[in-house]
């Protein structure tokens, strides 16, 4: 949204105490952490903290708060000391307060203040724990989730399952890794807000989410220059601030926690080849680390047959053929990925770089890795090259799960929503897959002790062959509406409608004259007793009905999604401000030239259809929604067109 210079300038000086993004923590080390938040106007940013909730007796120094401001207005000159916030709504301030001088491995409580006015609640829920000194022996637990950023109920359920599990065990997570696709569908700022920050807010205020770039975030953020909503949202190390070597870019980085070294790669938009900057950095970083465990995470899985196929897709093949040799010769223990909407977990494996992937001679231990089953996977103490790694594909965090085949190196393949919890204590790493019901669906363990001589299995155990269930067409089930939405056009609202004739070609545009159209309540139709405006003459006479109405949106650039809830029979095309945004059941053409209408029964059910590319067409103020409903033919026994409009902001 473009605003005037005057408004932008006003925003620069206006005080407010409303968070437009609630406080969250970033880039923790053993002696520092960032607290980040956003407001819609300027404030006097202060973070106070202390080791007891009622005693916030220390304060982040003024000079340690970075202020960023979002404006697209080139006439607005940013004041000295204010940096640009690239992708947020106009007039947004983002504050990044660095708290330094912390004691290692210590819980601190904090509050965000506007001057002396406390903005965060007085409850003790705002706290974080500084990292232990790198190299310290300390048990750790972290959460791994991928492909979750739908803003739908499933994302919330998967998150709750983790929260409840850790509460039940009285062992909270120390941090979490997101392996990408955290803000569908294009990683826009508003999608980050509604589908990531708001969904995970209670967790994000306490622990750092260390992110990996997914392809959906990559639609709006670029790893090469670190610009976009993803890079606005996160503070990632570029100069080895949290352990590891300086990458120079936020797109790939490493950090230490206790005796473990974590490596994040950008598998989406950077050169994955051995000669690329990322692979060269990776090799150097692996040669440096002194920790006992190496965990790598990135978005595109080197091995999968979930919703993606690593034998066929370029990014996945390149991660396998270019990056895996470097990781394995560097002694990696676990590789965590997403992208493929499934849970897959491998046996202990090494050197599987061929295409297609085969299990023969790359599996070092074909057991299930469960201490109560075939026993844990075993490796030598410390870091040794090519002693095997476990691959975990955790792309099941929220979006539709799917399987398209069997990856032969996998020990567990589970087509269910969930996430992964990993504990490391001394020489033992334990991973579990927690499903959406909070049930443990997989457990594996790696023990690094003594000296182990790896042997390659010529004929390892292999998962059963799998074929798609009969009757499925391989397509996604109907879309779910967002979890949080408001209604922009009510159910059974009054619409203008035209039935029994065709309008001019521009009928869907706002400036088209519809003064001679009738008005009636949705739904429109006949023959199935579900209609409020009954079109009693439609049968045998005409097949198309046109409806229109306006709705208002205050600020279009804060809308994360907009879509129709609609009961329909048989097909329809929807237009937003004159542009087609949904088409279903209409093969080609429109209006009188619509062809190939497919049969569909409403059955009293409202299906959800998100508008495509709505951000290009949606305006501040009054918008026009137009829908043409089509019956399959003149003799069809019924017709239904019953929409309402929902909006996620």
């Amino acid at each position: 949204m473009a605003v005037s210079t005057a408004r932008a300038a006003e925003n620069l000086h206006h005080h407010t105490n409303i968070f437009s993004r609630a406080p969250y923590v970033q880039l923790a080390t053993h002696e520092s952490i960032f607290v980040v938040w956003r407001t819609e106007g300027k404030m006097q940013p202060v973070v106070r903290y202390g080791t007891a909730p009622e005693k916030l007796n220390r304060e982040a120094s003024r000079g340690a708060v970075i202020t960023r401001f979002a404006t697209t207005n080139k006439n607005v000159k940013l004041p000295a000391g204010v940096a640009k916030l690239h992708s947020a709504p106009e007039g947004t301030y983002q504050y990044e307060a660095k708290i330094s001088g912390l004691n290692p491995d210590t819980r601190y409580y904090y509050g965000v203040f506007d001057g002396d006015k406390r903005l965060t609640g007085r409850d003790p829920s705002y706290h974080f724990r500084s990292h232990p000194i790198p190299g310290t022996h300390r048990p750790m637990r972290f959460w791994v989730v991928g492909d979750s950023g739908t803003g739908r109920e499933m994302q919330s359920i998967v998150h709750s399952a983790m929260v409840q599990w850790t509460a039940k065990e009285n062992r909270p997570i120390d941090f979490y890794l997101h392996v990408g696709d955290m803000a569908y569908s294009r990683g826009r700022d508003v999608e980050f807000q509604t589908r990531f920050f708001e969904m995970y807010e209670p967790t994000l205020r306490n622990v750092v989410c260390w992110p990996a770039m997914g392809n959906h975030e990559g639609a709006t953020s670029k790893g090469t220059n670190g610009v976009g909503p993803y890079y606005d949202a996160y503070i990632c190390p570029t100069r080895g601030e949290a352990g590891g070597l300086a990458s120079g870019l936020e797109a790939f980085y490493s950090f230490d926690y206790g005796r473990a070294h974590f490596i994040c790669l950008d598998s989406h938009d950077l050169d994955r080849r051995p000669t690329g900057m990322m692979a060269q950095w990776l090799k150097a970083d692996l040669e440096y680390t002194q920790q006992d465990w190496i965990i790598a995470y990135f978005h595109h899985p080197p091995y999968t047959k979930g919703s993606h196929d690593s034998d066929r897709e370029k990014q996945l093949i390149e991660m396998r053929t270019h990056i895996m040799p470097v990781l394995e010769s560097g002694g990696v223990d676990v590789v965590l990925t997403g992208h493929s909407h499934i849970y897959e977990r491998s046996m202990l494996m090494d050197g599987a770089y061929a295409n297609p992937t085969v299990a023969e001679n790359v599996i070092l231990n074909d057991g299930d890795g469960d201490p109560a089953g075939d026993g844990p996977y075993r490796k030598s103490a410390g870091i040794h090259p090519n002693e095997g790694a476990v691959q975990v594909v955790a792309g099941h965090g929220g979006t539709t799960v799917r399987r398209k085949g069997t990856m032969p190196v996998m020990r567990k393949i589970i087509v269910e929503h969930g996430s992964v919890l990993i504990d490391i204590a001394g020489d033992t790493l334990t991973g579990i897959m927690l499903n959406k019901y909070g049930e443990r669906r997989d457990l594996f363990s790696i023990v690094k002790r003594g000296e182990v001589a790896p042997t390659r299995l010529a004929n390892p155990w292999q998962p059963d062959k799998w074929s798609p269930p009969k009757g499925t067409d391989g397509k996604d089930p109907p879309a779910e509406p967002p979890e949080d939405f408001f209604i922009a056009i009510e159910k059974h609202a009054q619409w203008h409608y035209l039935a029994g004739e065709h309008p001019g070609t521009n009928w869907m545009r706002a400036d088209y004259d519809i003064s001679d159209w009738k008005t009636g309540e949705a739904g429109f139709g006949f023959g199935d007793n579900d209609d409020r405006t009954v079109l009693s003459n439609m049968h045998s006479n005409y097949t198309t009905v046109y409806i229109r109405r306006t709705f208002e949106i205050e600020q279009a650039d804060t809308i994360a999604e907009i879509g129709l809830m609609i009961a329909y029979d048989d097909g329809f095309i929807a237009y937003l401000n004159g542009k087609e945004v949904v088409r279903t059941g209409v093969g080609s053409g429109s209006g009188r030239k619509a062809r190939d209408i497919k049969t569909h029964d409403a059955n009293g059910r409202y299906d959800y259809f998100a508008f495509k590319d709505y951000e290009k067409y949606l305006k501040d103020g009054v918008n026009v929604l137009a829908i043409e409903g089509h019956n399959k033919d003149l003799e069809s026994s019924d017709f239904t067109l019953d929409p309402y409009l929902i909006v996620e902001d």
Partner: protein, 308 residues
Amino acid sequence: MRARNAWGVALFSALLSSAQVTCAHDSPEHEIEALTEKMRANGASATLLARRASEWQSLRKLDHAQADLEHAILLGSDSVGLRTELARIQAAQRHFDAAHKTLERALTLAEEGMERCSVYMQRAEVREANGEHALAVEDCERAFGVPSPPLDWYLTRARLTGRTGRWRECARGLKEGLEKSGSIVLEIEWIEALIDAGECREALDRIQPHMVRARRKSSWLIRQGRAQAGMNSQAEAQSSLKAALQEIETRLDAAKPEGRLLAERGLAHALLGNRPAAAQDLEKARMLLGEAAPFTSCIERLERVLGK
């Protein structure tokens, strides 16, 4: 052509991102099927063709991708993003003349600044792949006219200036990038360039802290050996190189050696005068690294030492 000019990709991605579907990304086959279906119903459009080209590329079907991009351009949607992407695909198929022509056209369309500079950088890479190193350096310098060049451009420039033997210039450029970013990759290449430029004392000073901190020291030992040899400290150089070899032997997986590590072993052998072992490692490393081999700095150095 090896390199994928990330800024060229960014231009193309920008074109694609305006037309993403709202569902989670499906497999390329599904996407291609859906896009084909859509074009069958509503006719082809540049945006849909560009999206399908991107999916073809992820399946490595470059000829299909090229056809879609050419069709998109024919539909009147000529743009720098489409042109640079098309040139990249043409060059990957070694159609250098076609790639060159495509980029010439892109330059006429590109706006001043990052867009234009990224086209120059891509043309530098096409020229490099075609063996026109001096011209490639010229294009690279044009590309560096932009205020904040992406970090990987520093590596490309260093490689190209190195190929023309301009080591001091190469080191200077890398130092500039290092000071901006702190990147360890640029630091390593800078130290290597210092050695190649004969500034071995400074290189040794820079190597020393890494020798202390690194868990695996072989690559630093080789650098140290090269610098010591450059200062005519032959005995010290031999000792460093032998220590490097010793460590590499413990790290190399005999069954599935990692290409770059093998190239390092080859370089250590070569610097120690063991040419047959070095040549053997070079050959195997080239095989393992495939099309990336000619652009791997360690391979380049090994080839230089062996006179290949």
